[in-house]
């Protein structure tokens, strides 16, 4: 009995120290003592974030070979490459918590780990490449800027680097949309269609309303999450409305209007039924995205094995 009490007391003290550190605004580093729940939450969030970057390469990758100019092809390739890099930074940051990239990929394949829902939507026309950069990256940036101040050091450092690189992503997407809206009737139609299809899923990227979101408690207290879903969503809407106006695009929400009292835009209801349907596996591309990732992973196994085998042979040579 006494032993147990002693143990609890130590646990309490550790937690107190940890939370005092968080309250002071100190970053938590890999070797610092941290509550299990903190570690688990981070692994879940960071691996999901990493998977999103990597899976997100697919819809845009769908247009690389069809990009309509050399300049467009360079931009798109460089952009997708950045996303791969972001995945890499985030996997590495998560690895400091004691999980390997291999395990994270296994969890993705088994369905235990998720990725952002947005990438379960298809990129159907070239305008979708514009809409993804402008709206999807635009939404992601709002979230990522806020995460630069997250409490876990490696995560925050990865976010700082990512935000620096992200700065051209949204601009290139917006440029595509602007060009198309100035272009032929066909181009304008494509742009409007893309806007209509990507607007609502982009709003869903921020997750359920604050009143519904189950993770707000600890994640906020421990400063993993620095802003609420609704705050971030509002920020995104407020800055995007004007950008849409400038290029002559209409946001597909008839309830969208400026609220003078709150100094922000009110928006119509989000289709949460669709959100949960897509999350649960019934989006247009869930199966396709996972099948692609699994296939690439399996197809590459012999290459990774060969690299390992070659290193082992070389090491033997050195030591004999």
């Amino acid at each position: 009995m006494e032993v147990l009490e002693k143990k609890n007391e130590i646990q309490d003290n550790l937690l107190k120290n940890f939370e005092a550190k968080i309250d002071r605004g100190d970053a938590i580093e890999p070797r610092d003592k941290m509550p299990d729940a903190y570690r688990k939450h981070l692994i879940r969030q960071m691996s999901q974030h990493a998977h999103s970057e990597v899976i997100g390469m697919q819809p845009e990758g769908n247009w690389i070979t069809r990009a309509p100019s050399l300049r467009a092809r360079q931009i798109l390739l460089a952009k997708i490459q950045d996303e791969g890099g972001h995945g890499l930074y985030l996997y590495s940051a998560a690895e400091t918590l004691g999980i390997s990239r291999r395990e994270m990929i296994e969890q993705l394949h088994s369905g235990k780990a998720k990725y952002s829902n947005i990438f379960n939507y298809p990129a159907l026309t070239w305008a979708d490449i514009g809409a993804i950069g402008w709206l999807v990256d635009g939404a992601a940036i709002v979230n990522q800027v806020s995460l630069q101040r997250t409490s876990y050091g490696p995560y925050s450092r990865a976010m700082v680097r990512i935000c620096k690189e992200e700065s051209f992503h949204q601009r290139q997407g917006y440029e595509i949309m602007a060009k198309m809206m100035k272009g032929t009737k066909d181009q304008q139609e494509m742009a409007r269609d893309a806007m209509n299809r990507w607007w609502w899923p982009s709003l869903m990227m921020f997750g359920p309303h604050d009143s519904e979101s189950p993770h707000t408690g600890d994640a906020v207290k421990w400063k993993i999450k620095r802003s609420s879903n609704d705050e971030l969503r509002q920020k995104f809407i407020d800055k995007t409305v004007q950008q849409a106006e400038v290029i002559g695009l209409t946001i597909p929400d008839k309830d969208l209007k400026w609220n003078e009292a709150k100094k922000c835009y009110d928006h119509g209801p989000i289709n949460w039924e669709e959100f949960y349907r897509v999350i649960s596996g019934n989006g247009p591309c869930n199966k396709q995205r996972m099948a692609h990732h699994v296939k690439v992973h399996n197809d590459g196994a012999w290459v990774r094995e060969a690299a390992e085998a070659y290193r082992q042979k070389k090491e033997k040579k050195i030591f004999h």
Partner: protein, 96 residues
């Protein structure tokens, strides 16, 4: 099937310009040192961020233990005589 590997982890240090300190940039995975160097180059110098790279196997890095922070770092806090402004210089002395 053999256990799948994502290759070993390496830490990457970058020098942003000749003469500057090497600063930790992040990590890469690689099976050997040539691959580690190339992967670091392809991952961390895409925007002309570097003029030189070090890569070190992550498991070769020895890190101090946060539990030792008090004994490691606090004793240095009161050694003010190591700081130049601690000393009183005679008035009028120049270039010292």
């Amino acid at each position: 099937m053999a256990t799948d590997s994502q290759l070993a982890m390496w830490e990457v240090f970058m020098q942003s310009k000749p003469g500057a300190n090497y600063i930790h940039a992040g990590s890469v995975h690689a099976s050997d040192k040539e691959m580690a160097l190339q992967n670091a180059r392809d991952t961390y110098t895409r925007r002309g961020e570097g003029t030189s790279i070090w890569v070190v196997p992550s498991n070769a890095i020895v890190a101090s233990n946060p539990d030792d922070n008090e004994m490691f770092f606090d004793p240095a806090n009161d050694k003010v005589y190591r700081i130049p402004t601690f000393y009183v210089m005679p008035e009028g002395a120049k270039a010292i």
